[in-house]
């Protein structure tokens, strides 16, 4: 999202314009979902925590100090909530209630891929997931992870190699 537009939307959210926040949701939901998916390895948990993140973003937007930093800020909230969730993971209250109304990416290839992704170190997994979910943009990832674009490229290459090794090992096994 362009900086000026983002600043304008954030400013409007601050004064209670919820419609402006819906635009921010549309712009950042994929990124937030990607972070949650990378950290939680489960699309349903990811969806729930991503929802919490985006709602928390709305309630806390008055605390955002720099209007142009919404992306980095909401990403931090997502990561913190995921960390909380992992620590407190209590599956007892969640008998899955999933209707087959969505395209379920559960073919064998995706299963293999998800298993391999789960084995990647967290920074590699985050980088790779963000890259494919959030517009294949190193700039976005740099903003999200608060690192340089060069570091993003380095991590991306490393993650590709690690993923390849893991997939080969799985298929070999």
């Amino acid at each position: 999202m362009q900086g000026d537009l983002e600043r304008d939307l954030v400013a409007r959210c601050r004064v209670g314009d919820r419609s402006a926040y819906t635009d921010l949701v549309r712009a950042y939901s994929a990124r937030v979902f990607a972070i949650c998916l990378a950290m939680l390895h489960n699309q349903y948990d990811a969806e729930d925590i991503a929802q919490q993140t985006l709602l928390k973003g709305l309630t806390g937007i008055r605390g955002l100090r720099r209007d142009g930093q919404f992306g980095a800020w909401i990403s931090r909230i997502a990561r913190n909530l995921c960390i909380d969730f992992i620590r407190k993971r209590r599956l007892r209250a969640n008998v899955p209630d999933r209707q087959p109304d969505l395209a379920q990416p559960d073919s064998r290839d995706y299963d293999e891929l998800q298993v391999a992704l789960a084995k990647l170190p967290e920074d590699s997994r985050l980088t790779l997931t963000l890259y494919y979910f959030d517009g294949r943009s190193a700039k976005n990832i740099a903003e999200t992870l608060d690192i340089s674009q060069g570091a993003v490229q380095t991590r991306l290459c490393r993650a590709r190699k690690q993923l390849r090794r893991l997939l080969e090992a799985q298929r070999g096994a």
Binding site: E47, A50, T59, R164
Partner: protein, 611 residues
């Protein structure tokens, strides 16, 4: 493989990422052209790239659903999506639509001028209270919605409100052949599955007074939002609507978002019976920035004396198969006592949760967090401290092993000896929600959210998420909302197995009927073992989720308060993931409880949070 190839393959990932300098990329490509091993590696990386792309694409429906959920939650502009038509305004609407299509930019400019100096909610506000009151007095509300854009179609809904102004029965029908009935009082749901030509009957315990149970207020609240937006212009006219003396309120929002965004204008019309104060019709429209009409929905309301008795009366095929997943009376009776015990559990207490885990053997058990929960019904507070793991013995040496000793240690400076990595205070009340935390390196308190929401508004703590808020530990632990849920393909039944027999327990199996397809194994389901001697605690709970990626089990030991209330004294939870090494992880939570406490002064006061 040659050493050269090893070096080259190291760089092929950079080639795939497109970050290699052009000269080096050309050299690499020249080599790949002649080397089968490197070519195979490049192709494999490209295949991974494609697979990752497809995976992200396959997840898009979830992202879209997430967006919709969030937008619905925050009262998206489209949430007032319902319509009806004021004949008096049809001409005006049409001409506006034409204007938008012709010159959206000009309209925005005109709108920016118009929004100055116009009243907004004030003009329409008095109508809302009267409408809620009037709708609470009618028996049935019948709603016919016509959508003319996107998911076009006609949808009908009959709602029966009970004396408490909450929906008791909701019947739905669409022109596509969908039929359903939600019975909130009996927690039952019936729907017609068109594909399978089957009527499915299920039990939904979450229908027990859910926050989303429709009320006249919730309907009116949805409309009200359309009059409250920042740039709204509201007009009010009096005149006949289909022969009835009516008030017509029109809310026009030209500045929905600025250029570059999707919507530029919206219009909402509400027509209300002037004498009975009952809504007669609504109309809702959204225009895109290119001038096209994105949403165009009309809804008409009527108030019949009688509604349908079942979905067959609405036209559901009587020849359809019936799949009755509802629990048997025996099962409901068996569970009734537990449910009552859960609902009647103390709502005033202080509970300390000490949590730790081990990966391989109980000898390696380490404690890493303490939480203190203060609960005075809706006033709740959780103070959490997450620290570098210590052994159980070390913890007992510092804090002891009773409620009083741990509480004393908790408020003493001795707690600071722990290497605290994360602290958090969560505070919930009927009118406020706050979170404060600090972590690791920075020792500054950070206010994540400290807001006040009026009453139990949609943004109140109840709806901020399923996991965190309003944790009433005594009613939550050792139980689950999922028990007995049978809607859709879930089937719940009383079963017997070795564990239940040998321990004299009731075993309730909650299984997805699709689990029985294929190899006959259970791939998705939960098993609850209930102890008939206890009032609401499960003895053991096991979960086998989809694909067997992980397995979860928890076992409880009990404690009993002075007033005889059972509670989960110790919870051993085991999570076994096949895709993670090491495969097992065990978590233990020990709960120390004071069920009739004196709360420290100001504990629920948001103004007295740690600075």
């Amino acid at each position: 493989m040659q050493d050269d190839c090893k070096n080259i393959q190291e760089q092929i990932a950079e080639l795939v990422s497109g970050v290699l300098p052009a000269e080096r990329a050309a050299e690499l490509r020249a080599h790949i052209g002649t080397c089968a091993a490197c070519r195979a590696y490049l192709e494999a990386l490209q295949a991974d790239d494609k697979l990752l792309g497809k995976f992200a694409e396959a997840m898009q429906p979830m992202v879209a659903r997430l967006e919709n959920r969030v937008i619905e939650e925050i009262g998206d502009l489209r949430s007032g999506d319902s319509g009806g038509r004021a004949s008096v305004l049809v001409t005006i609407l049409k001409s506006r639509a034409a204007k938008f299509a012709a010159a959206a930019v000009i309209v925005v400019a005109v709108a920016l001028m118009m929004r100055r100096g116009n009243g907004r909610l004030d003009m329409a506000a008095p109508a809302f209270a009267k409408m809620v009151e009037a709708m609470g007095k009618v028996a049935w509300v019948h709603e016919v919605e016509n959508k003319r854009t996107r998911d076009k179609g006609r949808y009908e809904e009959w709602v029966f409100y009970d004396y408490s102004y909450k929906a008791k029965l909701v019947f739905k029908r669409s022109d596509k052949g969908d039929f359903s009935c939600q019975d909130y009082l009996n927690c039952m749901e019936t729907f017609y599955d068109r594909q399978a030509d089957t009527v499915v009957i299920g039990y939904r315990p979450e229908y027990h007074d859910p926050w989303w149970r429709p009320t006249p207020q919730s309907l009116v609240e949805k409309w009200k939002k359309s009059f409250e937006k920042g740039r709204t212009v509201v007009t009010h006219q009096v005149g006949p609507y289909e022969g009835i003396d009516a008030d017509t309120y029109c809310s026009t929002d030209y500045g929905t978002t600025k250029q570059g965004s999707r919507y530029v204008a919206s219009e909402f019309i509400l027509i209300v019976d002037r004498n009975r104060h009952l809504p007669l019709a609504t109309s809702f429209k959204f225009w895109m920035s290119d001038g096209t009409l994105d949403t165009d929905t009309d809804t008409k309301y009527s108030y019949p004396e009688k509604g349908p008795n079942d979905i067959y009366e609405l036209g559901c095929p009587k020849t359809a198969k019936v799949l009755d997943n509802s629990p048997t009376p025996e099962l409901l009776q068996a569970v009734a006592g537990y449910r009552a015990g859960r609902e009647n559990s103390p709502r005033r207490y202080i509970a300390i949760l000490v949590t730790g885990s081990y990966k391989e053997s109980p000898e390696s058990y380490l404690i890493n967090s303490v939480e203190v929960h203060y609960c005075d019904d809706y006033l709740q507070r959780c103070d959490l401290c997450f620290f570098q793991p210590i052994t159980e013995q070390e913890f007992i040496e510092k804090a002891g092993s009773s409620f009083d000793s741990i509480m004393k240690w908790w408020i003493s400076p001795a707690k600071a000896e722990l290497r605290i990595s994360h602290e958090k205070v969560s505070l919930y009340g009927e009118e406020y929600t706050c979170w404060l935390h600090r972590s690791g390196g920075s020792k500054d308190w950070v206010t994540l959210y400290k807001g006040y929401s009026p009453g139990k508004s949609r943004m109140g703590p109840r709806t901020l998420g399923r996991y965190v808020v309003y944790r009433n530990i005594l009613s939550e632990f050792g139980w689950t909302d999922g028990l007995l849920k049978t809607a859709g393909s879930w089937k719940v039944s009383l079963v017997e197995d070795d564990y239940s027999r040998s321990n004299n327990l009731l075993c309730i199996a909650v299984l997805d009927k699709s689990s029985f397809a294929g190899d006959g194994g259970v791939s998705q389901g939960s098993f609850f073992y209930l102890n008939p001697q206890r009032n609401y605690i499960c003895q053991k709970y096991e979960l086998y989720p989809r694909s067997n990626r992980y397995y979860f089990r928890e076992v409880l030991e009990y404690g009993q308060t002075d007033s005889g209330q059972w509670y989960p004294r110790k919870i051993l939870a085991r999570e076994n993931r096949q895709d993670v090494t090491p495969p097992e992880r065990q978590e233990i939570e020990t709960i120390y409880l004071d069920a009739d406490p004196e709360f420290p002064e100001g504990i629920f006061d948001p103004e007295k949070l740690p600075k």
